[in-house]
Every structure is written in structure tokens, then in C-alpha cells.
């Protein structure tokens, strides 16, 4: 199956010889991601500043489970691979594209759910030791940062599930072919946030 022709509005960037047209939804998702960078960047930089101000929080940081965090990092990196493979399948549009797309999207959803399940288990271990969000500034930051990130993973799972269901219908496959790129941009962004969150919270 060939890639579906785009019927989306395009925006012209640049002028003269460097002019390039990009689909308006792609520009919109990058604008959205820029606002998300402000949200996570603000929180992460506040965490770093307060951590320096409070002598590094070494005693508190010793109680986080870095092995569980490392496992979750591997899960999220692998989910980025399956998402990229789903996008590549949609772009190439070869024979059996819809099946491959659904398979890779399915893996991405499962890996996202694995991430959230492991995170919930990790929270239960910390709660059992009394490390609740009210246990101190470090733990307040920890739950805010990882909780907000987990909500973004959940949003990504819902988005991907919508596309996975839509891809089962032959008449909606061309729509999914176009929209999976935007879902992919969001999912990879969530991965990038974790790439910085993991060493900041678990390894320093």
C-alpha cells in the first residue's frame, strides 16, 4: 500500500531559496512540545537549584531504587524503538503495512503500560518506607516530577491506543498513516524527558 497523499494544510517556512512547506499539524505539535519543554525544564531546573541549595540531598537520594529506574529507562527506550518502527512502516507503506503498524503500536502501548506498572510498584515500595510526598522537599519534587511524567506516558498510551483501534479499520488506515507521525513526536518527547529525569533523580 502506498503512503496516503496529504490533504493537510501546509505552512511555508523561510523565504527565497530556503523556503520549505511543512504540514500545519507538525508545526502545531512542535509548538506544543516547546511549551512542554518550558513545563518540564522549569521543574527540573528548580529541582537542581534546590538540590544544590540543600547540600545535594544525598541521604534522601540514597533511598530511591536506581535499578528499577534503570529498568524503566530500558523499557522507555525500547518503546521509542517500536514507535519509530511503527512510523517507519507507515512512511514506507509496503505490503502488510497496516498489520506491521498495529503490531509495533501494540508493542509501544504494552511497553508504556509496563513502565507505569513498574512505576506504581516503585511508589508502593517508597510509600511502605514512609517516603510520601509530604516526607520532605526531595520527595515532593520526586513525586511531582515522576508523577507528571507518568501522566504524560498515560496520555501517550491513550493516544496510541486510539490510533491502534483506528488502524484496524481499512478506511481509517490512511488517516492513521498521517497522524502516527505526530503521536510519535509526542512519545519520543516523553522519552527525552525521562532521559534527563533518570540521571537527575536516580544517579546523582
Amino acid at each position: 500500500m502506498e503512503a496516503a497523499p496529504s490533504i493537510e494544510t501546509v505552512v511555508q517556512l523561510g523565504d527565497g531559496d530556503s523556503i520549505r512547506e511543512i504540514p500545519a499539524p507538525r508545526l502545531a505539535i512542535w509548538l506544543f512540545l516547546a511549551s512542554e519543554i518550558m513545563v518540564f525544564g522549569g521543574l527540573l531546573s528548580c529541582f537542581v537549584l534546590f538540590r544544590i541549595a540543600h547540600g545535594g540531598w544525598d541521604a534522601e537520594a540514597a533511598h530511591v531504587h536506581w535499578r528499577i529506574g534503570a529498568f524503566n529507562t530500558l523499557v522507555l527506550l525500547t518503546s521509542s524503538l517500536t514507535m519509530a518502527l511503527a512510523c517507519t512502516s507507515a512512511k514506507e507503506g509496503k505490503e502488510g503495512m497496516a498489520q506491521r503498524l498495529r503490531m509495533f503500536l501494540g508493542f509501544t502501548i504494552l511497553l508504556g503500560m509496563t513502565f507505569l506498572g513498574v512505576k506504581a510498584y516503585e511508589y508502593s515500595l517508597e510509600f511502605a518506607k514512609g517516603f510520601t510526598p509530604g516526607a520532605g522537599l526531595f520527595w515532593a519534587f520526586y513525586y511531582t516530577l515522576t508523577g507528571l511524567h507518568s501522566l504524560h506516558v498515560l496520555a501517550g498510551i491513550i493516544l496510541n491506543t486510539t490510533l491502534w483501534i483506528a488502524a484496524a479499520r481499512a478506511d481509517l488506515v490512511p488517516v492513521v498513516q498521517r497522524r502516527i507521525e505526530y503521536a510519535g513526536l509526542y512519545w519520543h518527547f516523553v522519552d527525552v524527558v525521562w532521559i534527563f529525569l533518570f540521571p537527575l533523580v536516580y544517579l546523582t
Binding site: 523561510g14 511549551s35 519543554i37 525544564g41 527540573l44 531546573s45 537542581v48 534503570a70 527506550l77 518527547f189
Partner: protein, 96 residues
């Protein structure tokens, strides 16, 4: 070898990028558990994180193929955040 790597595309490139990401994760973890000075360990761990983020953004998010204005769009908030953190450093981090 070089000819082979320059012709990597599609699924093969996606898998190669994932291998690099996992390799960098393992390097970061080895540095973390090794008995080396904390400043050096933290620097190496964050260097690995930056390379991982650049790989994901450029290859998986296809920013390499985009117009420079999209780079500007993505980098502007990063510059603002870093600027804000540097500006607040004396007041918050080094307050007596």
C-alpha cells in the same frame, strides 16, 4: 563498512539508534557504580544523557530533516530555561 553504514535507512537505522541508546545507558550505569569522584561521574552521566537526547531528537523525531526554524522553535525554551537557572543560581542555590 562505511558504505554499509551510510546506506542504513528505515528500520535498520531505527534499530542501530536503539543499540546506541542502550549502550549509552549501560555506560552511564557503569560510571555510576564505579568508585570515581562524584563530579566526574555526574559529568559523564549527563554527557551520556545529552548524547541520548540528541540521538532521539535528531533521528527518531527527524529534526535533522527539518527547516532551521523548527530547531529555533525547539531550542528557544531550552535557552530560556538554562538562562533562568543561571540567573537564579546565586539567589537560590548559594543563598546563605
Amino acid at each position: 563498512m562505511q558504505e554499509k553504514s551510510t546506506h542504513l535507512a528505515g528500520a535498520s537505522l531505527d534499530i542501530r539508534i536503539w543499540e546506541w541508546l542502550v549502550g549509552l545507558l549501560i555506560i552511564g550505569l557503569i560510571v555510576f557504580v564505579m568508585p570515581i569522584p562524584k563530579v566526574a561521574a555526574v559529568s559523564l552521566v549527563f554527557a551520556a544523557a545529552i548524547v541520548k537526547a540528541v540521538l532521539v531528537v535528531r533521528k527518531y523525531m527527524h529534526l535533522t530533516a527539518e527547516h532551521w526554524l523548527l530547531y529555533a522553535l525547539a531550542l528557544t525554551p531550552v535557552v530560556l530555561i538554562v538562562g533562568m537557572a543561571i540567573a537564579l543560581l546565586p539567589d537560590i542555590a548559594f543563598r546563605q
